[in-house]
């Protein structure tokens, strides 16, 4: 009898099979999320073109995402420029090429660091707030309330947020470039004693407008992806406050990953 019961009991799956199954489930979820975010992007684009255009909502989001991030992006820019100038000047000192500090910092900032760091700052500051706010609205039926009042929630809630990311991350990228170069100038010229003329002249010589455009294009793409990911996660949150917390965590991880992955592919495509 006992043997029969033991035979009938469900068998524990093999650890390897379990691991493969978990990997498969995770991969399916990632593919499903990428599809969901892409579809949401198309829906946002479609609703952005339809009337009514709620400019008040758009300006409120531009203010929140852009103006609200000025201080943190400027501060990050200053210190990034300072650290980068300090480290690169130590390296260039080894072969008497300190004059290359300015252009090196400028090219790295404009092409890579400014769009990536600005988008990360926007993700942490505004993206998390977007995801939490939308998630709370979803679980407390405020999104359903909008629908029952014949107001499309994608148009009312998501369109201004996504457009603000698309516009404001490139603007913040320019701010990051500016403050980063100021920080770099301070360390190179004032602290390290590199000639101001050399620093500025060499930077101007090596930096092309195309480098700035590359950073701005990246900034726009990151702004779009970050706001879409955060809106997607918040908009589809479920399961009360725990679900909102989980959605926000997932949104932060997915947004940061999307920045680094897109950075590589956009960089390759632009060259």
């Amino acid at each position: 009898m006992a043997t029969e019961n033991a035979d009938n009991a469900p068998k524990e799956p093999h650890a390897l099979l379990q691991a493969i199954e978990n990997f498969g489930k995770g991969a399916m979820r990632v593919v499903s999320d990428i599809g969901g975010v892409t579809y949401l992007g198309f829906q946002v684009g479609r609703w952005a073109l339809k009337r009514p255009y709620r400019l008040h909502n758009l300006f409120a989001q531009l203010d929140f995402v852009g103006v609200g991030s000025i201080f943190i992006v400027a501060l990050t820019g200053v210190f990034t420029g300072m650290v980068f100038a300090h480290q690169s000047s130590r390296a260039f000192e080894l072969f008497d090429a300190e004059s290359m500090v300015g252009p090196t910092v400028a090219l790295t900032l404009t092409r890579e660091l400014a769009p990536v760091f600005s988008a990360l700052m926007v993700t942490m500051r505004a993206g998390s707030a977007m995801c939490t706010e939308l998630g709370t609205m979803r679980v407390s039926e405020q999104v359903d309330a909008l629908e029952t009042m014949a107001v499309n929630p994608i148009q009312y809630l998501l369109v201004p947020r996504v457009i603000s990311g698309l516009i404001m991350v490139p603007v913040l990228t320019m701010l990051f470039n500016t403050t980063g170069m100021c920080g770099s100038y301070f360390v190179s010229v004032i602290a390290k004693g590199i000639s101001a003329g050399t620093f500025l002249n060499r930077t101007q010589q090596w930096l092309d407008p195309i480098d700035l455009y590359e950073g701005l294009i990246k900034g726009a793409i990151f702004g779009l992806s970050v706001t879409l990911v955060c809106c997607y996660k918040g908009f589809n949150a479920s399961g009360g406050s725990k679900g909102v917390g989980q959605a926000t965590t997932e949104a932060m991880v997915a947004s940061a990953l999307s920045i680094f992955i897109l950075d590589f592919f956009v960089g390759v495509m632009l060259h």
């Binding site: 407390s140 359903d144 309330a145 029952t148 009042m149 014949a150």
Partner: protein
Amino acid sequence: MATAAPESAAERPMIQIVNLHKMFGEHKVLTGINLTIPEGKTCVILGGSGSGKTVLMKHMIGLLKPDEGQVIVDGEDLVPLGDARLEQIRRKFGMVFQAAALFDSMTVYENVAFPLREHRKELSEEQIRALVRSKLELMSLPPSVEAKFPADLSGGMRKRVGLARAVVMEPKIVLYDEPTTGLDPITTDSVDEMILAAQARLKVTSVVISHDIASAFNVGDYIAFLSKGLIIEFGPPEQLRSSEHPIVKNFLQTWFGKN
């Protein structure tokens, strides 16, 4: 199965549900609902948890599409309609949510004014103010609440503001999703009175989704009993009370037995 339609032929149907089926995955939620709700009356859809009440209500307002069947609102079938026409139909509805679903980033005034600002662009700010004030007064809310945020209100007051927002566009139909769930007995009575007062003054058709038997008998002109995705009893409260259906009897016994 009970005939889920009022006996009086004189009453014009406002909502008609015909043979409604809905599945989520393998799970059958609605299994052939037939229900007619007459104009100007209050119909309570009573049933236990998981009986499909909320799913049925979401079909009435076009938030869900059925797998089979018709949802006819004011003479028009919602099922084949596209998004644009559905949004127009939804303007015939006002909905009061279980937890009021007020926008917590807006004040009470902004919440009630919201549908007007979205859909009645021709109104001046003075006209909007007058309409908002009149609806708040109708719900016995003083002007002092206008500047408050939803988080500063009690549960009962939030429900009143939710109803003021639901009726500010003067809809033909008001849907109430579990209006008395989680409220104390005194607040429950006041919410029942609020529903009856709104019904008397605005002459709307009301649909109340509830599992609160006392409240259902207080406010309902008709009560539809929903069990396992099917309306198993429909009629005026007294008819439901004398029902011989074992599930209905058992459900009502839980309250009438104690009271």
